[in-house]
Symmetry: C2
Subunit: 222 residues, 2 copies
């Protein structure tokens, strides 16, 4: 390796993040941000940065969320690497590789800072077409990552659903990811028999109802 170090011409290392969010009201959303700088300036794309010299990959991902999409570290509930992407079509200027992450972020209350960059949240199917670089491909990989790990990856599932969620929320999340609604009965039993969950016996039912029996609320153990 030493002999090669002299040729300090390597592709750029970009970190691209797919900000993902789920809420009972808004459903599953993916965010993009308007690019301030030149390759594709003005267009919407995934928040991304070039990795700093001594920066950890996850720190780069958090910096991308903060500086490019206005999503502070306190809003990041989960961060997972998807993989490395390459290809000559990635960047018209420099050769670059991208290390992609999914970030499950909190979009609940006082977000959307008045100054600085801000994220634009969209339903995945609407966000995808025609993003620059290979960001369409990265979003697909992120959705696939979430699909294959729902209910299997405790941290990811909990980040998406939040600490307190209803059966209806879980049904909506599964529908958003897989395209088809789960059988209500089977979903309910799956929640009931999940050893990590507990019924909340909630008095604080949001009662956002347009009719119908209010769903059970669940919380996570430990």
């Amino acid at each position: 390796m030493t002999a090669e170090v002299a040729t300090r011409e390597q592709p750029l290392i970009a970190i691209d993040v797919v900000p993902m969010s789920f809420s009972g009201s808004g459903g599953l959303l993916v965010a993009t941000a308007r690019r301030p700088y030149d390759p594709y300036a003005g267009q919407e794309a995934l928040p991304g940065v070039l990795l700093h010299p001594a920066e950890r990959l996850t720190d780069g991902a958090r910096r991308a969320l903060r500086t490019k999409a206005g999503l502070g570290p306190e809003t990041v509930r989960h961060l997972a690497q998807i993989g490395a992407f390459d290809g000559p079509e990635r960047d018209p200027r420099d050769a670059a590789i991208s290390i992609a992450f999914v970030a499950v972020v909190d979009t609940d209350p006082g977000e959307t800072p008045s100054t600085g960059p801000s994220a634009v949240w969209r339903v995945p199917a609407q966000a995808e077409p025609g993003l620059p670089f290979d960001h369409d491909r990265i979003i697909d990989a992120a959705l696939d990552h979430a699909r294959t790990r729902l209910w299997r990856d405790h941290a990811l599932t909990r980040a998406l659903l939040g600490g307190r969620f209803t059966t209806a929320d879980a049904a909506r999340l599964q529908t958003a990811l897989f395209g088809v609604a789960p059988d209500p009965g089977n979903l309910n039993r799956a929640l009931r028999t999940n050893p990590a969950l507990r019924r909340a016996d909630d008095a604080t039912s949001p009662a956002r109802g347009r009719g119908g029996r209010p769903p059970v609320t669940w919380t996570w153990l430990d």
Copy 2:
């Protein structure tokens, strides 16, 4: 991004490959190669290179196999990305990230070139302790990759077992990956009912026997 390009000081991009091989006789093996250059020169490590400017990641992986372990492209049966690894402890000289691959390679006949670099094949448990960089971690990730994809990832499974294998081979592979031997009966039924497999009705039984009924040979369809 443009504003940052000026600071062309980024971590190095290394490609590290876990060469993996399985045969009925040798079992599951992982290869390392002696490092000719300075960081940890003389020690054994995974074959790795620094990515060239316009090189695809998979091409870098193939180059690492060829130039660092003497494993030519014709021996590579399968190549899959494991993920990107970072961390300050990775490299004592430069900050570097590693994009890791598993390569399932052919070790059957006339390999081990007399000149140039050559691979040292070892049983995974023996190869791991004390490799430089974070190569122990990368080998673990490679083994985990194979474990979770055996029988699920057709290309990987086929690359490991080869185009023609016996029930005993499959049992040995599963034992090597999971640590426990599968139930012979259940494994046999799994093979019999696998729609991608066909019994070979082989006349060419290797008969390497120290007694016992010779196993059925299987081939892949299409």
